[in-house]
C-alpha cells in the first residue's frame, strides 16, 4: 500500500470567482513508503500547492488525499494528527524561528503533540543530533545562530515530531556547496534511521541526482513524470522544454554520446560518468 496517494486532486485558487485558476489539476500519484522523492518543476508549476495538500494545510477542491491508507478529510477533526504524521518544512525555514531558545523552538512541535516532558527532551536532543547541531547551542537564542545553524534548527523542529513523511521545500537554497552537502547528508541519515518517506522540493537537479530515489516532475499544474532518477533525466529535452534542466554531467554525457562515445542515457553523477567513460578511454580495455 502506498503511503501517499492522491486521487484526481484539483485545487482551485479563487474557486467560483471569475479569477479561478487551477494550481494543480487532476493529480493522480502514489508514493511508496521509504522513497526519497525529488519534486521538480518550474516556478508556478504547482509544487508548493501539491505538498500543502499532504498535511491538510490545503484541502482539495476536488479529489481525495490518502495518507497511510486514510482519507485525510474523511474526519476533519483528525487533521491535526495528519500534521504530526506529515512534517512540512517550508522554504527559508530559519525565518520562522520564534522562541527564546533553540531548545524551545525545537520542542514546539513535540509539545503540541502533548508528549511528556521526558519524551519531549529526548525528541529535542535526538533531532539536534540528526541535524548535527551542537547541544551547547540549545540554550542560545535562535537569533544568535549563524545562517546555516538556523536552517538546521528549523529543520530539527520538524524532525522532532518524527513524521513518517518529511517534506522539505528547497532545504538547500542559498547555502554554499558544503552546506548543501551536509543538509543532504543529514536528510539521508534521518531517512535511514527512521525509515521515513522524504519529499524534497527543489530547483537543484544536482541535489536530486545526489539523493533522490525517484523524481516527480510537475508542469503546468500536472504531474507529467514520476519515475526513477535515471529514467527522468533520460528525457533531457522534454525537461528543458518545461523550463527545467538536467545536471551538467547528464548534458555532457548526452553530447559525448552524440559524438560517438557509446554512453547510456540518464547518467547523472560525476562518479557514474567517470566509471562509464573509463573503459572507453583506456586502451586495450573493454
Amino acid at each position: 500500500m502506498p503511503i501517499i496517494r492522491l486521487e484526481n486532486v484539483t485545487h482551485n485558487y479563487g474557486d467560483k470567482t471569475p479569477l479561478c485558476v487551477s494550481a494543480i489539476k487532476n493529480i493522480n500519484v502514489a508514493i511508496e513508503q521509504g522513497e526519497l522523492v525529488g519534486i521538480i518543476g518550474h516556478t508556478g508549476s504547482g509544487k508548493s500547492t501539491l505538498v500543502q495538500h499532504l498535511n491538510g494545510l490545503l484541502a482539495p477542491t476536488e479529489g481525495k488525499v490518502w495518507i497511510d491508507g486514510e482519507d485525510i478529510w474523511k474526519n476533519k477533526k483528525n487533521i491535526k494528527n495528519i500534521r504530526f504524521k506529515v512534517g512540512l518544512c517550508f522554504q527559508y525555514p530559519e525565518y520562522q524561528l520564534f522562541e527564546e531558545t533553540v531548545y524551545q523552538d525545537i520542542a514546539f512541535g513535540p509539545k503540541n503533540m502533548k508528549l511528556s516532558e521526558e519524551e519531549i527532551k529526548q525528541r529535542v536532543l535526538e533531532a539536534a543530533d540528526f541535524v548535527g547541531l551542537d547541544r551547547a547551542l540549545l540554550a542560545k537564542s535562535p537569533f544568535d545562530l549563524s545562517g546555516g545553524e538556523k536552517r538546521r534548527a528549523a529543520i530539527a523542529g520538524v524532525m522532532a515530531m518524527k513524521p513518517k513523511i518529511l517534506v522539505l521545500d528547497e532545504p538547500t537554497a542559498g547555502l554554499d556547496p558544503q552546506g548543501r552537502d551536509s543538509i543532504l547528508e543529514m536528510i539521508l541519515h534521518y531517512k535511514k534511521v527512521t525509515g521515513a518517506t522524504v519529499l524534497l522540493v527543489t530547483h537543484s537537479m544536482e541535489d536530486v541526482a545526489r539523493v533522490a530515489t525517484r523524481v516527480l516532475v510537475m508542469n503546468r499544474a500536472q504531474v507529467v513524470m514520476y519515475d526513477t532518477v535515471k529514467n527522468v533525466f533520460a528525457h533531457s529535452e522534454e525537461l528543458e522544454n518545461m523550463g527545467l534542466a538536467v545536471p551538467q554531467i547528464t548534458r555532457i554525457c548526452r553530447e559525448l554520446n552524440r559524438r560517438g562515445l557509446a554512453l547510456e542515457e540518464g547518467i547523472y553523477t560525476v562518479g557514474d560518468a567517470c566509471a562509464a567513460l573509463l573503459p572507453l578511454l583506456k586502451k586495450g580495455v573493454g
Partner: protein, 282 residues
C-alpha cells in the same frame, strides 16, 4: 581603469552593546575592480561576501580603510547619492525589490527619483527593458512574472539609472533552472555589449566559471583572486573553504585521477567534451 577600489578595508557589525564586540566581517581587504570587468565572488555562508558587496555602494561604510567608487570615498555622505547612481544592487529575493504594480512603472521608479525629465524617462525605461529582454512585458503586473523575469525587471530598474556597475547578491538562489539561465545570460550580455561592470556573488560554481575573474573570500579575507581557470584548478583549496568545482571540471579531474591522460583545466561543458574526445584519440 578601476571603478571600485577597496583599500585595506575592515568592517564589523555592531554588537548588542559595548560588551559584545563582534569579530571583523571584512578583515583587511585590498583589491580593485576594473571598469567593464565581470567578477564573481565566492565564499561559504558567513565568509563576508554580502558585506563585501554592500561596501561597494555605501550601504555599509568601512570601520577602517577606504572604499572608492570612481575615486569617490563612500565614507563622505555627500558622495552617497552619486555612488548609488554608479553602483546598483540586485538582491536574492525577487519579491522584495519590486515596488510598482506595472513593470514599466517599476523600472521608472529610479530615474523618477533622480528627477529625470519625463520623455527621457520614457526613453530609458524602453531601452532598459529591451536590454533585459522584458520589453514585451512592460505593461504586465510584476506578481504575474516568473522569478527570472522579476530579477530581469530589477536589473532593468538599475540600468534605467544609467549605472556603470551592477552588484548582484545571489540573484539566482531562488530561481528555477531556466530563470537562472535567463538572469545569467542577461548579465553576461550587458557586460559584453554595454561594458557594464558586473560583480556577481554566487554559490553556483558554473556561474562563476563564466566570469573573467573569481575572488574567493574566507573569514573576511581574500583567499584566492584569479581567473576561473586558475581558481578552479585548486579543488582541494576550494573544498577546504566550503566550495567546489563545476561538474565539468570535476569529471575531467576524476578521469585524470583514474589514470587517463586528459586536460583537466576545463571550465564548462564544451571544454570538458573536447578534452574527453581528445583523450580518446591519445
Amino acid at each position: 581603469m578601476n571603478i571600485i577600489e577597496y583599500k585595506d578595508v575592515t568592517f564589523r557589525y555592531e554588537g548588542e552593546d559595548e560588551n559584545h564586540v563582534l569579530p571583523l566581517t571584512i578583515d583587511g581587504v585590498t583589491l580593485n575592480i576594473e571598469k567593464g570587468s565581470f567578477v564573481a565572488v565566492l565564499g561559504r555562508n558567513g565568509s563576508g561576501k554580502s558585506t563585501f558587496a554592500k561596501l561597494a555602494n555605501a550601504i555599509h561604510l568601512p570601520e577602517s580603510g577606504q572604499v572608492l567608487v570612481e575615486g569617490l570615498d563612500t565614507k563622505e555622505e555627500k558622495n552617497t547619492d552619486l555612488i548609488r547612481r554608479k553602483v546598483g544592487m540586485v538582491f536574492q529575493n525577487p519579491d522584495n525589490q519590486i515596488v510598482a504594480t506595472i513593470v514599466e512603472d517599476d523600472v521608472a521608479f529610479g530615474p523618477e527619483n533622480l528627477g529625470v525629465a519625463p520623455d527621457e524617462i520614457r526613453r530609458r525605461v524602453d531601452d532598459s527593458l529591451k536590454a533585459v529582454g522584458m520589453y514585451d512585458f512592460r505593461l504586465a503586473e510584476p506578481h504575474k512574472l516568473s522569478g527570472g523575469q522579476k530579477q530581469r525587471v530589477a536589473i532593468a530598474g538599475i540600468l534605467a539609472m544609467q549605472t556603470d556597475c551592477i552588484v548582484l547578491d545571489e540573484p539566482t538562489a531562488m530561481l528555477d533552472p531556466i530563470g537562472r539561465r535567463e538572469v545569467l545570460s542577461t548579465v553576461l550580455r550587458l557586460n559584453r555589449e554595454r561594458g557594464i561592470t558586473v560583480l556577481l556573488i554566487t554559490h553556483f560554481m558554473d556561474e562563476a566559471a563564466q566570469a573573467q575573474r573569481v575572488i574567493v573570500l574566507e573569514k573576511g579575507k581574500v583567499l584566492m583572486d584569479g581567473t576561473p581557470r586558475g581558481v578552479f584548478a585548486q579543488p582541494q583549496a576550494l573544498r577546504r573553504c566550503g566550495l567546489d568545482v563545476p561538474q565539468a571540471t570535476g569529471l575531467a579531474k576524476a578521469l585524470a585521477d583514474s589514470g587517463i591522460k586528459i586536460k583537466t583545466d576545463v571550465l564548462n561543458e564544451e571544454e570538458c567534451i573536447e578534452a574527453i574526445l581528445a583523450a580518446r584519440k591519445e
